[in-house]
Symmetry: C2
Subunit: 243 residues, 2 copies
């Protein structure tokens, strides 16, 4: 199959990209340089944008995209006993970032995925804690936690937005200590709403981390789903042999 003109132009531009942050030639110059129409050049450029290689916004020169990722240590997260502050915030601070946190606590009816993870019937009334986390005043991730009724019922602590200063975390303080976790990771493109709320550049995927926490009796006590802009974060795990 022969290469189409827009593919050819995309390839030539891609191979001539400079350092991150450096400007691209204007559309008009690319039209001259490659002898293609403006539409064709634009098709090539939007392909590069969808690949996450360049930025563009109206009136401004296109530039080579630059990325900086923050590490999120998943194995230490809520496993550490000195979990008196926000473990995530501490991680970011340790890397020189300024973390921030919006928390919203609400009652919802469990959607299918939540119900499955918590092993309860779909539609059950449960509590959700929806967090929007920021780094350096840039939105970073949407982190939603869900708790089954037997954990939250008759426990006002869960309606308290400041869970800081609770040693071992909210669950340990209410007698539902987590001893096992099952994490899954995947990625997909964001919906329009997600892209807008996280101020994501086109061509940036969403990295999705979900965690189900189990207590000593192997009951699920928490389900957390974090949706992160993949160009701003790197999730890490430390493992070792048990023996």
């Amino acid at each position: 199959m022969p290469e189409t003109l827009q593919e050819r132009v995309a390839r030539l531009i891609r191979d001539s990209l400079g350092e991150p942050g450096s400007p691209l030639p204007s559309e008009a110059e690319l039209v001259d340089r490659y002898g293609a129409s403006r539409n064709t050049v634009r098709a090539a450029l939007s392909a590069l944008e969808a690949e996450g290689l360049i930025t563009s916004s109206q009136g401004r020169t296109r530039r080579v995209r630059e990325i900086r990722r923050w590490e999120w240590k998943m194995a230490e997260w809520e496993k550490a006993h000195n979990n008196d502050g926000d473990a995530w915030a501490n991680t970011i601070k340790a890397q020189g970032g300024k973390p921030r946190n919006d928390l919203q606590i609400l009652s919802i009816q469990a959607p299918a995925d939540v119900a499955k993870a918590l092993q309860i019937p779909a539609g059950t009334a449960i509590q959700a804690r929806n967090r929007l986390r920021w780094v350096n005043d840039e939105p970073h991730q949407l982190s939603d936690s869900y708790f089954p009724p037997f954990v939250t019922d008759g426990n006002d602590l869960f309606w308290n937005p400041s869970d800081l200063g609770v040693p071992g975390g909210l669950l340990a303080a209410t007698g539902h200590k987590q001893v096992r976790w099952h994490d899954t990771l995947t990625a997909r493109m964001p919906s329009a709403d997600e892209a807008q709320r996280l101020m994501m550049a086109p061509g940036t995927p969403l990295l999705i981390h979900s965690r189900v926490g189990y207590d000593t009796e192997a009951r699920p006590v928490r389900y957390m789903v974090s949706r992160m802009a993949a160009d701003r974060v790197e999730v890490s795990y430390d493992l070792n042999t048990d023996d």
Copy 2:
């Protein structure tokens, strides 16, 4: 900021999408239905394609995209002592899939990221084992392993493509047992080459897993990078408290 016509059309189409696998109206019908030009309708459709919501190929009706993910259990991977076969292949088989494996062993000069992970100077001659893994004759992931010279030097076993049947894996058999691992996960859009090799649909990100394995003396003995089509895989970890 007012909604543009192509955004409006994209939104209306998005909201009217049916079941996975169901067909979309043709471009001509969408032109009639929304009173926009074909260019505008196509811009809306390619936005939806970039979001990973629909498929399209020449001559064929566009359809709502359907996805099926395979789980890859990272905590069990090479930690298990009964690692006599290929642990990844076993995982896939357990889920009803047919795994396959192309292995290529070659000598390369360490690129920057590999050198950093293995703590050796960039450009050092090292051994690479490049794998292309398939599930049901569909390409799934590119998995490349790199070993530092002190591990491979004078050890012909590493040039043997069939590492099956080596209890505990290749490294254990040569006296460099891994006891600690550091994993990182992130996502980005694939390059044109990656998209082609993995036969990835547009709007599909690459999920990238990297693992550095350390021996008992805390020396890095292996660096592995796996690039996976994110719509076909889900990475998982099982964690527990040590006490």
